[in-house]
């Protein structure tokens, strides 16, 4: 929705978060003392590993379900796929593909569950999906820490805890590390470019662009605009919403596999738990809001957010002599950004409602 005239104050408020981040980065980069090559390398690598995850958030926003904090479910599914693949010692690209295939049914089941629950909590999807993430984390722990190796067959002693069941704290993915990133070697200005990963990300972007134009994509946008109007137009609102969450969960699972092949180790009980928060923060930093997000927001967001993430510890050490301070700072900024974006969104929504109400009253008068 484009406004007829652009008010500079409104423009500033609507883009407050990205502007704030640009300022932080401009001040921070000289203070960090990092070289351009290092930063470029770091940003390219982080763009590669995070883009897919952040892109997976776009579909639920389209369906008006807000930021899908339930993407951690997809991350869990991806991790379960990777655990199986490591147990069977399938390595490299085939391992990633097989992990992705395994993750799909798990993601679909989890996504279906999440979507169905969210249909019962219309209007508070975000807080509900957030709690679903926590809840499923408990179920994930039950499966991975107690069932795997006892009920679910996992035989590799490198994976199973010495007590005979449960997966170890970390799963080594060294045999898969950067297998996608380095599939097509490519360098620019002395920085290595994960070209194959970027090609996958580009394909996903094309998919999203295409998906918006399909019948289902149109339905989702209609549901996102106004559920009741959509329902009257004959769209199965509940089904459409569930589908949007399933798609997001499946893609988040793929995203997690790509993310972990870059990292090279899976922290069995931690890797997934913060991924939703950081992906959402990155998307918001790119100028997205709860009801509006596009591909441009994803890339701008990742670049700005991860630039801050990379430089914060060093800036903290150089300024105050504590790297820990920088780490806390970036955690604070991640949470702060989400808070700020949510507050701005709610305030804008309320103002729009008030204006609509006043207009309605004028009509009545």
């Amino acid at each position: 929705m484009k406004r007829p005239q652009v008010n500079p104050k409104e423009l500033l408020i609507n883009n407050l978060v990205p502007i704030l981040f640009i300022v932080i980065c401009i001040i921070g980069i000289p203070l960090s003392g990092y070289s351009g090559t290092y930063l470029l390398n770091e940003i390219l690598s982080r763009l590669g590993r995070n883009s897919f995850l952040v892109l997976s958030l776009l579909i639920p926003v389209m369906a008006g379900m807000g930021l899908n904090f339930g993407m951690t479910l997809g991350a869990m599914a991806g991790q379960i796929g990777l655990i199986f693949v490591s147990d069977w010692s399938i390595v490299g690209i085939p391992g990633m593909v097989l992990a992705a295939i395994i993750s799909v049914p798990i993601s679909v089941i989890l996504g279906y569950m999440c979507g169905t629950i969210l249909n019962r909590a219309k209007g508070r999807e975000m807080v509900t999906s957030y709690i679903i993430g926590f809840f499923m984390n408990g179920v994930y722990q039950l499966f991975v820490l107690y069932f795997m190796g006892s009920i679910i067959p996992i035989k590799s002693s490198a994976l199973v805890l010495p007590r005979g069941y449960g997966i170890r704290n970390t799963v080594n993915l060294e045999s898969m590390r950067k297998s996608l990133d380095n599939l097509i070697p490519f360098n620019i200005f002395g920085a290595s470019v994960p070209l194959a990963t970027f090609i996958l990300v580009a394909l996903f972007c094309l998919f999203i662009v295409w998906f918006r134009r399909t019948k289902l994509g149109q339905d989702m946008r209609a549901v996102g605009q106004d559920m009741e109007v959509a329902r009257q137009a004959g769209i199965k609102v509940e089904r459409t919403r569930v589908l949007s969450i399933i798609l997001s969960t499946v893609f988040a699972g793929f995203g997690m596999i790509i993310y972990l092949q870059n990292i090279g180790t899976l922290n069995t009980y931690n890797s997934h738990s913060q991924i939703g928060m950081f992906s959402i923060a990155a998307l918001l930093v790119g100028g997205a809001s709860v009801d509006k997000a596009n591909i441009r927001n994803v890339f701008i967001g990742i670049i700005l957010f991860h630039l801050m993430f990379t430089i914060a510890p060093t800036v903290g050490r150089n300024l105050i002599g504590e790297a820990q301070l920088g780490e806390y700072f970036r955690v604070f900024v991640s949470y702060g950004v989400i808070t700020l974006a949510l507050v701005l969104y709610e305030m804008r929504k309320r103002r729009a409602e008030r204006i609509a109400l006043e207009r309605g009253e004028e009509v009545v008068a």
Binding site: W88, S89, G92, L98, N137, L161, N267, Q274, V331
Partner: protein, 156 residues
């Protein structure tokens, strides 16, 4: 729910079959095996004084008696090349042998002395399954995991 045998159903079925086939193919081509090349006394056959070995064209490795080297390979069919100096003529001789590792076998051990004693023996004589030792422990510190979800902040 009634099963409708429509075009859409068959397309979906075909897609699922294709994905399952893809999964199986990935399993075959991505399966990693460990080949242990062993130069130890095997029964009555004593270790070789010296040879060089390469798997699938990797750089040659020197093998003295009592050595055991490990090679990580993916897929099931591999070529192992062995070079050694012929005592009589002083010439370097080489032999290449194709091995097929069973799909489910994570680790195999090739006893080169057994192989060199008679190259015409079947593969099962000199290439045997190998199981790594598993250490079990119920001590709490060995089984500790980090469940705290605030622990991953700095690792992101």
């Amino acid at each position: 729910m009634k099963l409708k045998l429509s075009r859409r159903f068959f397309i979906r079925l075909a897609a699922i079959v294709v994905i399952l086939v893809l999964a199986v193919v990935m399993f075959f081509i991505g399966k990693q095996h460990t080949i242990l090349i062993d130069n130890n006394r095997a029964g009555d056959i004593k270790a070789l004084d010296y040879f060089e070995v390469s798997v699938d064209g990797s750089p040659l490795l020197d093998m003295a008696p009592m050595l055991r080297e490990q090679f990580l390979v993916t897929g099931q069919k591999h070529t192992i090349t062995i070079q050694w100096e012929d005592e009589a003529s002083g010439q370097m001789l080489a032999v290449s042998v194709n091995v097929k590792i069973p799909l489910t076998q994570d680790m195999v051990l090739m006893s080169v002395p057994t192989f060199m004693a008679d190259m015409n023996q079947p593969q099962s004589v000199w290439l045997t399954p190998f199981e790594a030792q598993v250490v079990t422990s119920t001590a709490a510190e060995d089984n500790a995991v980090v469940l705290d979800d605030t622990a991953s902040f700095s690792s992101f």
